[in-house]
Each structure stands twice: as C-alpha cells, then as structure tokens.
Symmetry: C2
Subunit: 390 residues, 2 copies
C-alpha cells in the first residue's frame, strides 16, 4: 500500500532521537533498480529549506537512488550550517548504501529555524540502512516516521493490469501543518518510464491533487514531492495510463491529508463551474476556500452563502454577478447573486460540505471547472497553531 | 469629535426597528452648505450591494446633500427589489429634506442576502429628519446607529489653525466584520475645497489608513467611505494641508477599528522596510498580516519568526533570502533568513506586537517602506464568526 508496493524498493523507518518524544523520526527509501529515473516538485517559496536546496540540485540529473526523510525539524532558515547538515546526511547515506551523494535526496519537516542534531541524524541513517526491507511493514514504517501532527499515516497504491504499480506515502495537510512544517511525499513505481514522461506525469498529478488542496493558503519552505522509478516490473507503461495512475495515488493521498488536517471538523469541497478559463475556476475556488469568514461559517454549520458570494466577488477572476449561483449541499441558495432558497433547508450537520459556484461564463464540453479541497476554521485549528514552537 | 465637528452639518441617529434588538440602526448626515462638494471610495468587490450601486451612481455628479446610513442589513445580493429599496430611501430623504434624490447617498451594513424592511426604513428616515441637530450629541448618535458587532463607537476630528475642521465616524473593522458586513465611514469638513482636491485627498487618505488595515483579507460587498464638504468655514484649505488632516482623521479611525476588531487580543503592526518598491512593501506586509499561522502564533504569544519568514517568502514580491531580517518587538530573531536571536528574549505578553521585516533591497531616503495593521486569530474570532446568520 505504500513506497514498497512497487517492486525494486526497500525502505525503513526508525527512531533516531531527533524528536524529543522518542517517536519514529527518520526514514529511508532505496531504489534497487534496475533503473533510477526520478522527478521532483518543490515549494515555490523564495525562502527554501536546506534539504530543498540540496534535493533540487541533485535532481537536475533526473536520477535518484535514495531518499532520506526526517521529521522533528525542518532544517529551514538554518544557513550554511543547515545546508552542511543536509549534505552530510546525503554523504552518510551514500557511504552506507554504496552510491554517490548526488544520488541521494533529503527531505525534512518540523519547526523552522532550529539546527537538526547532526550526530543523531547521521547515526539514524546508519541504523535505518540496517533495517531496510521490501515488505509492506517497511512501507508502513516510512509513513510513520515522517508524521508530525498527523494523527494517522497516509499511504496509497494502484496496480495496473499491465503489471506495474505506483505507490506512495505523504505527511501533513498541505500548508496547514504547524510552522509550515509542510507536506512531504515520496512515490515509487516499478513501471519502465523515461525521465521526461516521469517528470511530466508528476507535474500533472501534483497539479490535480496536492495543488488542489488548500487548507490555509500558506506555502511552506519545505514542500517536496518525489517520484522514483525502479523499472523492476520490466513493463513499459503507456504515458497517459501512467499519468492517470500517478494522479489517482496523489489524489488519494491528498484526500487523506484533508481528512487529517489540523483542527478539521468539516471536509469542504469548493467546486467552481462555468468559469471563463480553468485558471479563473481555480482562482475563484481557491479564494473561497481560503476565506476566513467562509471557513468559520462552515465550522458553525451555518450556510452563510453571502460570504461565499462575496469571496467569489473579490477573487481576481472574470465574474458577472447576474450569472452567479451558489449551491451548498445541494440547496440552491443564491441565483444571479440574489437570495434564492431558504437557508433552513440546507443541512450542514455532517462532516462533508460541497459548495458549488456556477459562474455562467462557459458551459457544456467547453466549460471550465475546478475543485479545491479545504477544511473549516475551528477552535482546534487555533489551539494547535497558537502554541507550537514554545 | 465627529460628523458634526465641522460647521455646516446636522445629523441624527435613531432606532428605526430594523435591528431586532431595538438598538439604534438608522442615521442621517445632512450638509447644510453653502457648498456641497463630495467624494467617495467604494468596495472593489465585483458583487456590490444595492446601496453601493446607488451611491456610486449619484456621486458621479461630485455633489451630495445627504447620507442615509443603516445597520441591521447589508442590502447586498437582494436584486432589483433591494435596489428599489435603496432608491426609495434616497427619494424619501430627498422629499423630507427638500433636495433631489440624486443628492442623497445610501450606506447599509449587516447580513448579506436579506431584504431590508422598507416601511420601517422609510419611516425611520422621516423620524431621523425630525431629530437633526448640529450638536456633538447628534454626531455621537450617528456613530452609535451604524455599529454592528462594534463594541464602541468610533469618531475622530482635526481642526486646522487656519480655521477649518475635518471630522468623521466609522464602523466595522476593515473586512473582518461578520458576513462582510463591512466598513462604512462618513467624513465631513467645513473647509472650502474643490471637487478634484476633495477626491484626490480622499483617495490618498484612504490609501494610507483604511487600505492599510487588513484583518482577514476579505473584501466586503458594502465598503463605503464618503467625504462631504460644506465650505461653512469660508476658509480655502491648502490641498496638501487638507490631505494631511484628512489622512490623520482616517488613520485615527482605522486604529480604532483595529483595536475593536472581532476577537482581537493583539494589535499587530507589520512594518516592511527595504523593499524593491512601495507596492512590494505593501504586498509583503499584507501577506504576513493575512497568514493564519502568523496570526495564531501571535494569539499564543509565540515569537514564531519562521512563520513570518515563510510568509514573506511566498509573497508575490522581490525577495533575497540572504538579506531577509525579522525583528519582533525589538528582538532580532532572524538575520539573512538564518536564526539569530533567542526566542526566549522576545516578550509578546502585551497587547501590541511590532513585526519588522527588512528586505535589504532599498534603503535610506530611497527606501521603500509600508505598514499594515492587523489582529491575531483567536478563539473569540472563530466564535463570533461561526454563528452569525443563523
């Protein structure tokens, strides 16, 4: 069900003593080949964590043998010392696993602005290398070791009838994680795929999964999604079929992140239809998904559609109020930006909320549509995020 | 201290029965002349309330005699019926005060998506017309009648040694007001100022006051700021001096809005210096001020500067991490995007927080600087905004 679902991968997750709690905090994912194609997508934040700077650099080769992941510290805003820690981590993994440091990516998650304990980290890499296995349990251990405020591990896999598999794990809930402690995800496949196909497939998959999850609009210093291909199935995957499978795994993981987001009491999907362009559809959906007044109303199970209409109205997208309809959980509440149905008919007592916004500017086969998943703004969110670093 | 501080104005605030609570909910501000220049700034939301559509239209003449304001309902998303209500309100005021409806602006605030009770509103206009006075108490009554979740009335005035006065009142806390119930502000002056000067002065004043207050990033359907000039002092104001006085009054009112924002436990000023442009300075300051993780950290009195650095890093502005410094309440915590001071030295126990971000891209007399005022994200904010319309 995870990074070991595809053939050709071994993994381990152990407690290296980085987290004060003593919980698992270090993981290794190793591609045993025969192939070693890899692709990655990183945060667009201009303040990038040391492991992001390192991993982006090594990935320019389009190949990876190893990923080292740690929780318990983001290694962000840590300067040259932090970069040296990321570098030393890759060197240690290369040494114990018999490859080059340039074939090792590093991912970190946790509080920004503190140095990682380098000796513990390096000893942890050695310990994890001794525990490597290709079993489902080893995949579970990776999923467990990268958790921060996650309450459950997150894994997914898809097997294609042609004989290859895509699997993966993730942590965090988009940018909601405390201190931007971020999302990390490692995906593995045994399909035979060329580097350009792997790269294009990852970008497409991320665009329609992790990029469509927006919990609080904050962009992390550490976000990293990596995909590694071993080619161990010996089966060359059709690019379109592979992209669809990778997207399915990423969407599954993104939904698990939404369901486990900090302080979540409602899982909200904002669906915008009839936009002038796909970009506009995304912009309007994202603006509504980020609006604090919409999110607090949902927390209160209050079908306050006026806040949805107002958020759509200030989104940076084409909009004609006379064509703006708002439907919440199936009840049309606002037609042409005018009150329509009765709020009392709209039941928000459940855990899932669907906010549908029709912009009326495109339709049918040419209609531009987008969905953004988000969560409500609850007391638990405020509580978890108001006391993290201290 | 308010809309009646300048000569040539009479005002009234009464209970018209729009609010179920029976509290004051309707106000009139009447310019007795001899002059009647006016200017206005309205929400840029594409979904505009009926009174905004009406007032924007009548203000194209650059003249106003009367402003009618009501709380208890925003008259937004109310369609043709709502527009007819705004129109009928202006007609009624024109009739009882002996002017044209085209000289009457209308402002509304409250829940989006419900029709105002038109008979109560029109009877209220008549009742308020009978209560008009040029006294400070009449100004107080206006400030009281436009309050929604405000806990205190908000008024300010400045008198110039040359012999003229600018006064005003406001309600709301930027866009934080529930259901985008918005900010409304009426400013009055007895200075002699031409229409172009009045218009330019208002835009400048709003830019450096209300536009620099950002509580939750939401833009209302009803935001309106109006300035009326009676010229009753007979003194022609120097444009620059007048602009400075108007800006002072608006900044004073904006600070009162910040201090009374919903759920506020911290008054936060984000000051960005050394930006590549003034627009960049505003963008970075606003991005930090809107970041939910920064705002929850401040609520928890947690000097989590990593969240500030991360928010600066995802702002759509020029930024070089190696020059990024973050100082909170006077303690330099981050230099060149690297941990510097000790969090423990940073005392956030008080009500005021100053977050200083130096971008290092400009300096001295050519330095680009901006300040945005905001508040923390507290349990009280979630509480007040999770149960409003129902």
């Amino acid at each position: 069900m995870s990074v070991t679902a595809a053939a050709g991968f071994r993994a381990a997750g152990i407690a290296a003593g980085i987290k004060k709690s003593g919980n698992a905090d270090l993981a290794l994912v190793v591609n045993e080949g025969p192939r070693n194609e890899a692709a990655g997508v990183f945060t667009r934040n201009k303040v990038k964590a040391a492991p992001v700077l390192w991993s982006r650099q090594v990935l320019t080769t389009g190949a990876l043998r190893v990923v080292v992941l740690n929780s318990g510290g983001a290694n962000a805003c840590t300067g040259p010392e932090g970069f040296q820690t990321a570098h030393a981590t890759a060197e240690k993994a290369a040494e114990v696993l018999g490859c080059g440091a340039v074939e090792v990516a590093v991912c970190s998650t946790g509080l920004i602005g503190e140095q990682l304990p380098r000796p513990a980290l390096l000893a942890g890499v050695e310990k994890a290398a001794g525990a490597l296995a290709g079993t489902p349990e080893a995949g579970d251990a990776v999923a467990g070791a990268i958790m921060t405020t996650d309450t459950v591990p997150k894994q997914a896999a898809v097997t294609d009838p042609a004989g290859w598999t895509v699997g993966g794990t993730t942590k965090g809930a988009g940018m909601i994680a405390p201190s931007m402690a971020t999302m990390l995800s490692v995906l593995t496949t045994d399909a035979v795929v060329s580097r350009p196909v792997l790269d294009a497939a990852l970008r497409e998959a991320v665009k329609y999964s992790f990029d469509r999850l927006d919990v609080d609009g904050s962009m992390s210093t550490n976000d990293t999604v990596l995909v590694l291909s071993s080619g161990a199935s010996g089966v060359e995957a059709d690019p379109a079929v592979f992209t669809a499978a990778l997207t399915r795994v990423c969407r599954d993981l993104a939904e698990q992140m939404q369901a486990d987001a900090e302080g979540v009491s409602k899982r909200i999907t904002v669906r915008v239809t009839g936009a002038a362009s796909e970009d506009d559809a995304v912009t309007v959906a994202r603006t509504i998904a980020r609006d604090a007044l919409v999110k607090t109303a949902m927390f209160g199970s209050d079908p306050n559609w006026g806040r949805v209409a107002a958020a759509a109205g200030y989104a940076d997208a084409e909009l004609d109020p006379e064509r703006l309809d708002v439907t919440i959980n199936g009840v049309l509440l606002c037609k042409g930006a005018v009150v329509a149905g009765d709020r009392a008919d709209c039941d928000l007592s459940g855990r899932d909320v669907l906010i549908e916004v029709e912009l009326g500017l495109s339709g049918g086969a040419e209609g531009h549509v987008a969905e953004i998943r988000t969560t409500d703004l609850s007391h638990a969110y405020v509580e978890e995020n108001s006391a993290y670093s201290s």
